[in-house]
Symmetry: C2
């Protein structure tokens, strides 16, 4: 008999599940419930429509209910909210939001893809702030756009420095609005580490965004015209965007007694079945395993939601397939820069007590002699003994996400950090270098793992200088004009071999250059002369993004 | 005792070997011989300097002999040609090209990185053509640039449609010169297949390059002012660039009795030792193994040369390491387009009798709703049973080489075509889609391998129509206005379920749409109704690049 499958949620996960189900099973009865007006819309495009970069609202609607039901013969019910799952008799209760009518619908299988909701904390004055918006749906977008178009706000505050907060800051800026971005942590973009985010902090400030870190909102006053921060600062604005994260939409699941994780995400097994095997769950609503460390995690991204939808459909039709966890590969455009990352960051690895190594490089996006190359600041994290790749981050103007995608692929292929040196990546001057930045990470990783070089990190410099260590800047004298680390002496690489007598043998020598490569060469010279040497990972350029 | 290492050739492979050797061994005696004036120059940038895109000649000189010897303490001898290897007494004979003096130099190890030479066939009149140039070195570049700057040629012919020929065609065009490109084969860019090259043919013609395929030069007349083609055509021009490929520089090796391969490349073992273990060879001069099929091949690219240099240095110092073969990952900019590829092409697989499958897709470079997306035409080749990835090709305006790099990495990680569906690649609207084009290849590959879909290829259409098969165009009627395959009938996908009675059950049904996806959906509908169906791989878009 034909299977009857109910899908809750009609966007990234839900619509994909429906389409795949139909392709696999022409006879299945598929009903898609969406409580909103729209299915299959481009959540990820919403900020850009507000900013005017995406000009046509219609472009956000990837599929209309009419198109989709014609193409896929699916019973699509917008404005219909599933309010209850009655597991005993395998039915759901649905509320038609237009008519307020309630009705029942039976099922063989349910797929829950209800997404997540913006966090909305009980800050004093939040409910009175009539200029405060969150962004998740098309109606949210319409409201914000309408406010910007018609009320012409001069100043806005964006609360939260995650992907959506930053995208909104940028897009409001494009609309000519003075933007203040407030973030509770000491950095924006939680998936990357502090020294990488520091580059973005500088870029945002260069672009005219007022960035307030390590501060949160204490209260909204004057119907939202004034935002009081915990530091005591007050900001007067016309528009507030609240983007401090999302929490899984777990109401239905919870009430149905399905197992939830600690963070509130719906729990599934690798087949994406919830604790009730007739009910699958996917997307932002579920807790997944972190692909690197195996721990439970919430990673609300569209790629995983889409892939999970396809897997859930396969399993329902009997093509058993598992989901292997989420790496968290992500990218964002931030004004002229791109930031991308995959896997775990250093903060996470420290918390987990993993024995790791970090590498920072600043290779060019392509060959330096071909115009238009920009440095990419890259960070690779790998296990100290095995070389297993644990994570990677990159910030730059061009070619950033390409390198992260390559590393994300290497992780899935179980390649180690050292294996990166053998990747055969495409090279012509407009695109890369004969030694691609990813190869370079591999070379450096190999050198570290083989003991050819030893490095120290930007955050160790203070202690090193306090311990009265010798810090040698091996750049040319002229480069110091643009800045150097206080307390360092200068011996240019080209003079090093002749000036060995100046360097004491009885203590560790710390060397640095601009990006790390000459420091490495200097270290090799000194080590072979019997010195114990450490080279500043990432060089002055990494140091400078934080301290200069 | 300190090792004495002689390096022959001071550019991509040679200079890299020297630098790595020094980093590993501060005491080694390293002598680098280069018969030209320059070491360590950017071969790959030469066409762009002629075209004026790279403005400064100095930018081409990555390292000067002075810099490099200061930094690396290497004895660099430009204008010194190694003319003989005396293996019996472990010495070489060197000719100082300035003084004509000959001298001997002893060695513990030699690294040969002498590169390759442009092929210069004995075509009648070639030696009299005083406007004919090949391009390999800085002096070659100076000569061509000088000719263009001062003689202001109006029309040029480029002979050979490989990377260098095409880059020269483009760069001469930028200089305002009418360019004719002649290629003996039926396509340019031998690493990719015909239907992919067809897209580039159209682009070159759109840009005003006169493209002559399946024709060769018969003779040069009038001191090179006239080029006679084998077809009988004659082209009058002011400048000739001969770029029909390179042959390995094997003279020294041959005379020293080192083993050579069939194609003239120096033979090495995986450690990059020649038949004499004291002599290593790397770069364009050596024969490598094709990483995919294991056969001997010549793949003259800078990435492999650089990587081999590092491996040779490691081996000499006793850090034993092997080279695992070359995939041939390559990329070129062709006016506004990019072409990239990795692994084997379909032609090669056919020749080898491999049981393979091909997929053609045309996904957007990024989300269609975000401005600036362009389709990428992609081709994936994989083994029919195992799903082993055999090769990939892509042509488009943006994000092309990113996808090829990801696939090249997947190959090195032993991921199968099906595994591509699980890659977690970075997604935000300006960069990709939630289902990245590479994921899409994985989905389609899985569908083929699991028998969910069966495809036919562009080159089968003629036979299919002759056999009086039913070919259904499932696009909307309006799309046919811009072209369709003669002999096809139109049943739009949205009407298909209602029009099944029109479709006979007694023969294979062939369906097609614009890019393949609606054809696939149609095929799924029909297959489940009991039809035998094949979908046109790549859709009308692939067909059209060849026939329309
Ligand atoms: C502004 C913005 C920008 C983003 N940018 C990116 C990006 O660049 N890259 C990226 O990877 N991800 C991005 N995301 C995240 C991405 O959109 C989500 O990860 C993805 O949409 C999750 O898919 P889902 O199916 O789980 O949930 P959703 O796509 O949110 O769909 C859930 C749907 O379920 C409906 N629903 C919920 N409960 C019920 C019910 N009981 N009955 C009926 N319907 C119900 C909701 O109305 C909603 O429409 C962005 C998100 C936003 C909001
Ligand atoms: C115009 C052009 C564009 C290119 N574009 C690309 C590209 O975009 N991407 C890519 O991957 N590759 C590209 N290449 C190919 C790349 O440059 C080569 O693969 C690479 O340089 C090979 O390195 P090699 O060390 O083997 O040879 P080379 O770099 O050519 O160095 C060999 C050197 O050895 C010297 N020599 C030879 N014999 C002797 C001797 N007996 N004594 C002393 N010296 C000797 C020669 O003078 C020469 O300088 C391009 C090449 C050219 C010419
Ligand atoms: C639009 C939507 C309904 C499409 O679902 P879908 O049909 O599975 O996805 P696509 O249109 O991308 O097509 C993918 C399917 O076509 C197939 N396909 C793609 N190109 C093909 C080609 N050229 N030839 C043959 N098959 C092809 C794939 O194999 C896949 O089918 P499968 O899952 O059966 O293997 C759904 O993705 C959606 O709602 N997206 C918008 C919401 C969203 O994702 N938001 C978050 C990001 S902004
Ligand atoms: C310039 C040239 C001599 C450099 O050789 P090189 O020193 O090996 O190469 P690079 O300058 O790219 O540096 C790579 C080295 O620095 C290390 N390195 C790079 N960045 C680093 C950093 N930030 N910190 C520490 N080490 C770093 C790498 O590990 C590698 O060292 P290793 O081989 O000992 O592991 C040589 O590549 C050359 O001649 N190139 C031009 C010619 C050419 O390639 N032509 C064809 C393409 S146009």
């Amino acid at each position: 008999m034909a299977k009857k499958i109910l899908i809750v949620g009609g966007v990234a996960g839900g619509a994909t599940t429906a389409a795949r189900l139909r392709r696999l099973d022409e006879k299945a009865e598929i009903v898609l419930f969406e409580r909103g007006e729209y299915i299959s819309f481009a959540n990820c495009g919403l900020p850009y429509y507000i900013g005017g970069i995406i000009e046509e609202r219609d472009a956000l609607l990837v599929q209309t209910p009419e198109d989709m039901s014609r193409k896929f013969n699916i019973d699509i019910r917008v404005f219909n909210e599933v309010t209850k799952i009655n597991r005993e008799d395998k039915s759901v209760t649905v509320k038609n939001l237009k008519t307020e009518e309630l009705y029942q619908e039976s099922y063989d299988y349910i797929v829950l893809s209800p997404g997540a909701n913006p966090i909305f904390p009980p800050i004093p004055g939040i409910n009175e702030a009539d200029n405060l918006f969150t962004l998740r749906s098309i109606p949210d977008t319409d409201r914000i756009k309408d406010y910007v178009d018609n009320r012409k706000p001069k100043a806005a505050i964006v609360i939260g420095g995650g992907f959506i907060g930053i995208e909104m800051a940028e897009n409001l800026h494009y609309r000519g609005i003075e933007v203040t971005l407030v973030e509770m942590a000491n950095q924006i973009m939680a998936p990357i580490d502090y020294e990488m985010a520091a580059i973005l902090h500088n870029h945002l400030r260069d672009k005219g965004v007022q960035l307030i870190l390590e501060d949160g909102v204490k209260a909204f006053e004057d119907s939202g015209k004034k935002v009081l921060l915990q530091s005591g600062k007050a900001v007067s604005i016309d528009l507030i965007i609240l983007a401090i994260g999302v929490k899984p939409e777990n109401q239905l699941a919870k009430e149905a007694g399905l197992a939830l994780g600690e963070k509130g995400g719906i729990l599934t097994n690798p087949y994406l079945e919830t604790s009730d095997p007739a009910i699958y769950a996917i997307g932002d609503a579920i807790e997944i395993n972190d692909y690197i460390n195996g721990n439970p995690a919430m990673i609300p991204l569209a790629g995983p939601a889409n892939k999970q939808g396809r897997i859930a459909a396969n399993n329902i039709i009997g093509k058993r397939e598992t989901y292997s966890g989420t790496l968290g590969t992500a990218v964002a455009k931030i004004f002229d820069m791109t930031v991308a990352s995959t896997g775990n960051n250093e903060r996470t690895l420290k918390q987990l007590g993993v024995n790791y190594q970090a590498i920072h490089l600043h290779p060019g996006s392509h060959a330096g002699y071909y115009p238009g190359a920009f440095p990419i600041s890259m960070k690779l994290l790998f296990e100290s003994n095995s070389g297993k790749i644990l994570g990677a981050q990159a910030v730059g103007h061009k070619g950033v996400e390409k390198r992260i995608d390559v590393i994300a692929t290497a992780i899935k292929g179980n390649l180690t950090a050292v294996d990166l040196k053998e990747l055969e990546l495409s090279y012509a001057p407009p695109f890369s270098s004969a030694k691609d930045p990813v190869n370079m990470l591999g070379f450096v990783a190999a050198n570290i793992l083989e003991g050819l070089t030893d490095t120290f990190q930007w955050y160790e410099i203070k202690d090193i200088l306090q311990a009265d260590a010798l810090l040698i800047d091996v750049r040319d004298e002229i480069e110091r004009d643009l800045g150097y680390i206080d307390g360092s002496i200068n011996i240019p690489l080209g003079e090093l071999r002749n000036r060995l007598p100046e360097i004491p043998k009885n203590k560790t020598i710390y060397v640095y250059c601009q990006v790390g490569i000459r420091g490495y060469i200097a270290a090799r010279i000194l080590m072979q002369e019997g010195y114990k040497v450490k080279n500043l990972d990432g060089g002055y350029k990494t140091y400078q993004s934080i301290y200069a």
